[in-house]
């Protein structure tokens, strides 16, 4: 037992020496030619080492390398496919052995006025929240761009809302917007505005929900915009300053075109997230008053979980997925064009 181990060890040592020799030669050749792998990169294994790996293992290697990607893809596609599959049945708690209904769930959704109401509210919310967050985020980033002590302190403070779970933020705001004991009306009272019913009217509920979203996520846009501002090249701005360009002109013709790709990344994230909003609205208004803030995600939740019409709820989710996917596709293509344009401006 021990001798065979030593023999193996000897053989291995001999192989190692051969490999080391081959590596040394390759390394010397690389140094001589001045090309090849960068310094510090592992040298390529020699032909001897490759020969020592059995052929079946070499053939298997590429397939093993894609296993994690396959597992990840499967982990995403499996529940998605299952969900898609369920939408062609009438699966519900009241019907655990369902019938195949084809596209009936989708037909019901698209012919139901409440779907279109929800879609409209969802779009209003997403556009409203993303637009306000973009404007405020860029404004805050511009204010913080000059690296003063105050700016650096404010940067740290700015990130705080992002540290709070949106549902908690919504509950905090629900208390603050409470008409009789909430702090917001208390602060407005000296101005004669102490009796505002923030979430009791359809418009008020939608605007209040957007306001909470803006409070939570404006820092996200601001941080991305700030990072973008700090990475812009200095020379175009120096040239503009030499030419005597004003602040507004510089902002319009230089800053925004070059910054826009960074901001657009934030906009895409925020717009897609806002289309899928659930937590903020549900915690703040539960979709009310009436159906005025029932966005698509809340309707899907109510159908699938509260009312246990699983197939119908899943159909809502698939429709929402399609909307988000299409919106993302359009925005990402636009982002590509904007990035090219920004590159031209910076040149």
């Amino acid at each position: 037992m021990s001798s065979s181990t030593e023999a193996d060890h000897g053989a291995a040592s001999s192989d190692d020496a051969a490999v080391a020799g081959a590596r040394e030669k390759a390394s010397a050749a690389d140094r001589g030619s001045g090309s090849g792998p960068a310094a510090g990169a592992p040298p390529p294994a020699g032909p001897g080492a490759e020969r020592s790996v059995p052929r079946w293992r070499r053939s298997l290697r590429p397939y093993l390398l894609i296993v994690p990607a396959l597992l990840l893809t499967g982990g995403i596609l499996y529940p998605f496919g299952l969900g898609l599959y369920y939408t062609v049945f009438d699966f519900a708690a009241s019907k655990p052995q369902p019938d195949f209904t084809g596209l009936e769930n989708y037909r019901r959704i698209f012919t139901d006025s409440s779907f279109w109401d929800s879609a409209w509210v969802t779009v209003l919310y997403a556009v409203g929240a993303a637009a306000v967050e973009t404007v405020l985020g860029v404004a805050v980033a511009l204010l913080l761009h000059r690296s003063t002590l105050v700016g650096r302190v404010l940067e740290k403070v700015l990130i705080l809302p992002l540290m709070i779970a949106p549902v908690i933020a919504a509950i905090i705001w629900k208390l603050m917007l409470q008409p009789s004991v909430g702090v917001v009306n208390h602060l407005l009272r000296p101005f004669g505005l102490g009796g505002v019913q923030w979430t009791d009217t359809p418009t008020g509920a939608l605007l209040s929900s957007i306001a909470v979203d803006v409070w939570v996520y404006t820092p996200f846009v601001a941080i991305l915009a700030l990072a973008g501002l700090r990475s812009l090249p200095a020379s175009p701005f120096e040239a503009a300053a030499v030419d005597g360009a004003g602040w507004w002109f510089t902002f319009r013709k230089l800053t925004m075109p070059m910054l826009w790709p960074y901001v657009l990344v934030a906009v895409i994230f925020r717009f897609m997230d806002s289309l899928k909003v659930f937590d903020i609205i549900y915690a703040l208004t539960e979709g009310g008053p009436g159906d005025s803030t029932v966005v698509l995600q809340i309707r899907a939740y109510l159908e699938a979980i509260r009312f246990q019409r699983y197939s119908f709820g899943l159909s809502y989710m698939i429709v929402l997925w399609a909307v988000v996917y299409l919106a993302a596709m359009v925005l990402v293509r636009y982002l590509g064009r904007i990035q090219n344009r920004a590159a031209e401006v910076s040149r």
Partner: protein, 476 residues
């Protein structure tokens, strides 16, 4: 070239094989996805329990309970050691706040797992959880003398409460027939509680009719702030976009007007919340809330209603008697000691029909420890624990006659003005006033949404007609 071709061939074959392998679990999952194919046996697990009744039968077992955060739950948890001492069974439990509790329970039961053997539920939940087969029928357990001790005494329960959790699982059929899908554990009658201080100061008396109640609510809102009750409004009623808004004060008054949610025609249900009388009533209710209800009413749950009464923000509360009780007991709130109870407005014909909520205990049909779980249910709904809960803790509104007649309980409750008198006045007419049907939560959530729209200024007729049209296709 050959190599490339071979590789290409291999790749295609590999992808084909991978796709085939992936589709196997997908298809098999699809096949088994709709429920677990567990055809429910006709025989109950209760039939397996034989011999003489023995509390120690399952000594060493652990059962898991899912509980809602509630004073009744606090009383149960405080007494759990007594159950373990009696049976040798350990109880593990999770407690969730009511906002999330039923979603958690629904998701858990619908998953088909036996995460919890026992759980709290309301009688309405039987209509949702019963038909899919998630609830154990407790009838066979109750009838089996080997499984059920004589001291449990089924006849001691108030009959309307046992009937409230018994159903045939067919939409529209009355309660009180079919399986016993839960046991009553605590209940709540929806009545009026009021602040005696403001009533005395303004010279008011509790309303005897709905017209008087609306007038009274408006009067308090107008006059109370000037009489030293800063920010006080008239009547606290729920308003959130939830089924829970419909069932307390609203459904009680609705029923006292002899109005119905649905009419039953053979096997089909027809929405009736848009009858001309119902439209008038609903409009008047929304008008009452506007003139004398809480600010931000559309977010009001029983927590806000209850705390407003306790904080002297509300002159009256039309909700569960327990919601007022928790504020009325000594030291519980600024209004403690100044809260009195009244049956509330009568209907036009003097009706005191009252809708009730029954906190019940149920058993998971998938539980692997049914016999031990049944021992827990017996103990939790038994005389000994319920008496202790009612007298030493806040588990009031007893489901058992023996507890409500107990002198110690009556002594305790007599400290609250009008509580026992109100309880006795409405008790005979208190029952579940809704029509049992599976779409209860959809119907009542949509109803609450309609009520919010009417409160927001929309005309009651078109809103309720739209609601009825929508529900007709879902329920009928």
């Amino acid at each position: 070239m050959d190599m490339h071709g071979q590789l290409g061939h291999d790749r295609r074959r590999f992808l084909a094989l991978t796709a085939a392998a992936s589709s196997v679990p997908l298809l098999s999952a699809c096949g088994a996805g709709f429920g677990d194919g567990d055809s429910k046996s006709d025989g109950s697990a209760a039939d397996d329990v034989t011999g003489s009744f023995d509390w120690q039968r399952h000594k060493g077992t652990t059962v898991k309970a899912l509980l809602n955060k509630h004073p009744y739950t606090d009383a149960l948890i405080a007494d759990l050691k007594a159950f373990t001492a009696k049976t040798g069974i350990k109880v593990e439990y999770d407690v969730f706040p009511e906002d999330n509790y039923f979603d958690k329970l629904t998701v858990d039961l619908s998953s088909g797992r036996a995460s919890y053997d026992i759980f709290m539920l309301g009688a309405y939940m039987v209509w949702q959880y019963g038909p899919p087969g998630w609830l154990e029928d407790l009838g066979p357990w109750m009838r089996n003398e080997s499984a059920t001790g004589a001291e449990w005494d089924q006849d001691d329960f108030l009959p309307s409460l046992l009937e409230g959790t018994q159903w045939s699982l067919k939409a529209g059929t009355p309660l009180g027939q079919g399986g016993q899908y839960a046991l009553p554990w605590g209940w709540e009658a929806n009545v009026v509680a009021y602040n005696t201080e403001v009533f005395n100061k303004l010279g008011l008396r509790p309303a005897e009719s709905f017209d008087e109640l609306r007038e009274l609510a408006g009067t308090i809102k107008r006059k109370a702030p000037g009489a030293g009750f800063d920010g006080m409004y008239g009547v606290a009623v729920r308003g959130s976009r939830s089924w829970a808004t419909i069932h307390p004060g609203f459904m009680t008054m609705f029923s006292r007007y002899k109005l119905k949610d649905f009419t039953v025609d053979g096997e089909s249900l027809k929405p009736a919340m848009n009858s001309p009388e119902a439209i008038t009533f609903t409009r008047d209710w929304a008008d009452m809330v506007k003139k004398g209800g809480p600010p931000s009413w559309t977010s009001y749950t029983w927590y806000q209603c209850s705390s407003d009464l306790g904080a002297k923000k509300a002159g009256m509360l039309f909700d569960a008697d327990t919601a007022a009780y928790f504020q009325a007991v000594k030291g519980a709130s600024p209004a403690a000691g100044k809260i009195a109870f009244h049956p509330g407005p009568k209907g036009p014909d003097g009706s005191l029909a009252t809708n009730m909520w029954i906190w019940s205990l149920g058993m998971n049909a998938k539980s692997k420890k049914k016999s031990a779980a049944w021992l827990f249910l017996q103990w939790a709904t038994g005389k000994e624990h319920l008496r202790k809960g009612a007298i030493e803790y806040n588990h009031i509104d007893p489901v058992r006659k023996s507890v409500s007649d107990d002198p110690a309980y009556r002594d305790k409750m007599s400290e609250l003005a009008g509580f026992i008198e109100t309880f006795e006045a409405v008790q005979d007419q208190t029952r579940i006033q809704f029509t049992p049907q599976e779409q209860f939560f959809d119907a009542t959530t949509s109803w609450a949404s309609a009520l919010q729209e009417i409160y927001g200024g929309k005309s009651a007729g078109p809103v309720l007609n739209g609601l009825a049209d929508d529900l007709a296709s879902k329920v009928g």
